[in-house]
Amino acid sequence: MKIVVAYKWAPNPQDAEVAPDGSVDWSRAKGAVSEYDPVAFEAARQLADATGGEVVGLTVGAASVDSPLARKAALSRGLDRLVVVADDRLADADGTRLAAVLAAAVRSIGDVDLVLAGDSSVDVAEGQVPMTLAGQLGWLGMAAVSGVTPSADGVVVERDLPGGITTLALTGPAVLAVTTDAVVPRVPGMKDILGAAKKPVEVVPLDALEVPDVVAATTLSGSRPETGNRRGVIIDGADASSAAAELVAALRTARAL
C-alpha cells in the first residue's frame, strides 16, 4: 500500500503575537510541522507497517518549507521519503490552490492508494484542504477519521461523528482527514533524526506539475469570535487562602457555583 501524508510546514503559534485588538502577527513565528499533522504521519506508519507499504510525505508551500530543519522534522516522524514543492509563488496561496498543487503532486507520485492529512492546519484552521484535494483527485474524501486499519481488500475506517461512531469499509483510493486523537504520534528520538537525514527527498519544481486554475474566493468581511461577557475581575494572589475565598465569593456572585 502506498500512502501519501499531506502535511503543512506552518508558522508555530507559540511564536505568534496577538495584539490587543485581536489581530495576530505571525512575522516572528518560526516554521514547524503543523501541530495536527504528526497524527497523520503516525497513522500512516502504522498502516504501512501492517500492510508492508510505503509512506511518502508531501508538502507544498513557499521556498521556506524546504530547509534541512524542515526536512528532518518531517522525515524523523515515520516517513520513508519526502516530496516537496517549494516555490515562493505559493507564499500567499489559499487552501484551494494548495489543494490543487497537492493533487497534481499526488498524481505525479503515482499509484497512490491513500492520502492522509491532519484535520486542519494550525495557522489557517479552515479544515478545507483535505476535502478539496479529494475533489481535485476525484476521490472519496472523509473528515473526522478517528481510526484506520487494514482489511483484505482496502481499509476499515472509523469516524467519530456527532451522531456516534461509524465504521466503514473502503476499497478505492481516498483522502482521509484524521482527528487529533486518532493515534498518539511518536516523539522523534536521536536515531529517528539521524535516520531522517539519510532518507530520500524529491524536490518537484512547481512548473513540472500540471496545476489546474482554481476559483478564487474574495473575503467580503470578517469578525472575531465573541469573547463573551467577561467581567475582568482580578484577584490578588499574594495571600493564597484569602485569594481562594475571594474567588469562591466571586463565583457565587456570578451564580457559577
Binding site: 518560526k30 530543519l69 539521524l194
Partner: protein, 444 residues
C-alpha cells in the same frame, strides 16, 4: 553520519564529537570542530536553537569577529552600541552618566542581539560547516565507561531510549549544566552564586526608540541601572535598544531575593513602572517575557572544565561576569568554545581523549581573555558601582568607561587599574577627586 577518523580496534562511534546545547558556546564549538574536519552532532532540546534562550542581549562581539570576521554585517544583530548610559535611581530621581564615544563604534565593540534570531543564525553557520543539527532532543545523561587507564570517562550521551557514542562530548548546556554536575565537575551552586534574571521585550517603533535614546540608524544604547530599581536587593537593571524593541530586565542575587521575601516578578514590576524609566517605556508593548538563572559566582564557580572524554564550555562551566553594570556571558561562552574546540581537535588527532589528553583546554582557557577577565573581576568588587558617580569629571569618567565598556578581546585590566590609569592621564588631583566627588554626589 559515521566518524571520519575511525581507527581499527577502537569502539565504533556515531560521531567524533557530540555537542550538547546550541547557545553561543555550543554552536561556536560545533562550528570550529567541523571546520577542523571532525564529524559533529549538535543536540538542542528546544524545537529550534534560541527558542529556550533568554538573555539581556549585549554581545561584546570582538571575540566572535575572530570566528566570523565581520559577523555584525551578516548576523541578525539589532543595533551597534555607541552609547553606554549608567543611571542611578532613587525613588523619585535618576542621575545618568552618558558615555558616547567613537571608540565604541569602530570597530564594532558591542551589539544587541535577540536570541530567538541570533542563536538560529549561529547554529545555521555550524550546519553549513557540516554539523548535524539535532533540535527537539533533550539529552538525559552522559554515557560513561572505564577507560584503558582505569579512570571513568565519558563515551557518549543518552536521550530517551537512544544512545549516541562519541570520542568527546562537549557540555554546552547552560547555567544549570546537569551534565557537568552528573559527573561531579560541578556541584549544585549555593544561592549566593546564582542570580535570577527577569526580562521583557518591549515593542516600540524604530523612530521612537531613536528619539528617546538619542541614536540614529543602526546605532544603539545600553543602559545600566542601579539603585532603587531592585528594591534594595543586590543586583541591577538593564535597558537595551534593539531595532524595534527594548530589552528590559533586572538581575537579582538569589540569596538576597530569598531573604527579602519578595518575588522576582514583583521586583521587575516595580522596576518597569519606575518613574525614572517611564519616558523610555511609555506606550511600549510587552511582547515577550521570561526569567532565567544567571551564574554569578565568578571565579569561585569555575572548577574543573575537562575530564576523560568531556569538556565543559560557556555558562555550563560557570563562565559569567557581573561587574555590577554589565552582565557578560555570551562573549566568555564563545571564548571558551574557541579554546575547547582547539584542544578537542588536537586530542582527537593525537588519539588521546583522556583527562590528560584534553588538558590543553584548560591551558588555552587560562591563557585567553576569558580566565584573565574572570580573575580580574574575582578580586575587584564592582569598583565602578562605587566610583561611577564621579560623573562631573567628564573626561575622566569617559576614559574609565571606555576602558570598561570597550572589550576588544584582549584581557581586561583590573577595574581599579583602568580607573587609575585614566586618572593619571587626567588633570584632576586625587584629593580633589575624592572630596568633590562625594560632595557632588550628595548634592545630586
Amino acid at each position: 553520519m559515521t566518524a571520519s577518523t575511525q581507527d581499527a580496534g577502537e569502539p565504533e562511534v556515531d560521531f567524533d564529537v557530540v555537542v550538547v546545547g546550541s547557545g553561543p558556546a555550543g554552536s561556536v564549538a560545533a562550528y570550529r570542530l567541523a571546520q577542523a574536519g571532525l564529524s559533529v552532532v549538535l543536540i538542542e532540546r528546544g524545537e529550534a536553537p534560541g527558542s529556550k534562550n533568554l538573555s539581556g542581549g549585549v554581545l561584546y562581539g570582538r571575540v566572535l569577529d575572530e570566528v566570523f570576521p565581520g559577523f555584525a554585517d551578516e548576523a541578525p544583530v539589532e543595533r551597534r552600541i555607541t552609547r553606554h548610559v549608567t543611571t542611578f535611581l532613587t525613588p523619585d530621581s535618576s542621575v545618568g552618566i552618558d558615555y558616547a564615544g567613537r571608540a565604541l563604534a569602530e570597530p564594532v565593540n558591542a551589539v544587541t542581539v535577540l536570541r530567538a534570531r541570533f542563536d538560529p543564525w549561529l547554529a545555521g553557520k555550524a550546519e553549513e560547516a557540516g554539523v548535524f543539527l539535532m533540535p527537539g532532543v533533550r539529552v538525559d545523561s552522559l554515557l560513561t565507561e572505564t577507560g584503558p587507564d582505569g579512570a571513568t570517562r565519558v563515551v557518549g550521551v543518552q536521550a530517551g531510549d537512544d544512545q549516541l557514542r562519541a570520542r568527546v562530548v562537549v557540555a554546552a548546556d547552560g547555567v544549570n549544566s546537569f551534565l557537568a554536575r552528573s559527573i561531579g565537575l560541578r556541584r549544585k551552586e549555593p544561592t549566593n552564586h546564582m542570580a535570577v534574571g527577569v526580562k521583557a521585550v518591549v515593542k516600540l517603533p524604530r523612530g521612537v526608540i531613536e528619539d528617546r535614546f538619542g541614536v540614529t540608524g543602526d546605532e544603539g544604547a545600553a543602559h545600566a541601572i542601579v539603585g532603587d530599581c531592585t528594591l534594595g536587593i543586590g543586583g541591577g537593571g538593564f535597558l537595551y535598544t534593539n531595532t524595534e524593541s527594548l530589552s528590559l530586565g533586572v538581575v537579582l542575587r538569589l540569596d538576597d531575593l530569598v531573604r527579602s521575601g519578595r518575588t522576582a516578578i514583583e521586583v521587575f514590576e516595580h522596576y518597569s513602572q519606575h518613574p525614572g524609566l517611564a519616558h523610555y517605556l511609555r506606550d511600549g508593548e510587552i511582547v515577550e517575557y521570561g526569567s532565567h538563572l544567571v551564574a554569578e559566582g565568578g571565579l569561585a564557580m569555575v572548577g574543573e572544565v575537562a575530564t576523560g572524554g568531556l569538556v565543559v564550555v560557556g555558562e555550563a562551566a560557570g563562565l559569567t561576569i557581573n561587574s555590577g553594570l554589565t552582565v557578560r556571558g555570551m562573549d566568555l561562552a564563545i571564548g571558551s568554545a574557541i579554546a575547547a574546540s582547539d584542544a578537542v581537535a588536537e586530542a582527537v588527532a593525537a588519539g588521546d581523549v583522556s583527562a590528560a589528553g584534553l588538558a590543553g583546554y584548560r591551558r588555552r582557557l587560562d591563557a585567553s581573555f576569558v580566565m584573565q577577565d574572570m580573575r580580574t573581576y574575582a578580586k575587584a568588587p564592582a569598583f565602578l558601582e562605587r566610583t561611577g558617580m564621579y560623573g562631573a569629571y567628564g573626561e575622566l569618567a569617559a576614559s574609565i568607561f571606555e576602558g570598561v565598556f570597550t572589550l576588544d578581546g584582549t584581557p581586561r585590566k583590573h577595574l581599579t587599574k583602568v580607573a587609575w590609569e585614566a586618572f593619571r592621564r587626567s588633570p584632576v588631583r586625587a584629593r580633589q577627586l575624592v572630596s568633590d566627588g562625594w560632595a557632588g554626589v550628595k548634592a545630586l
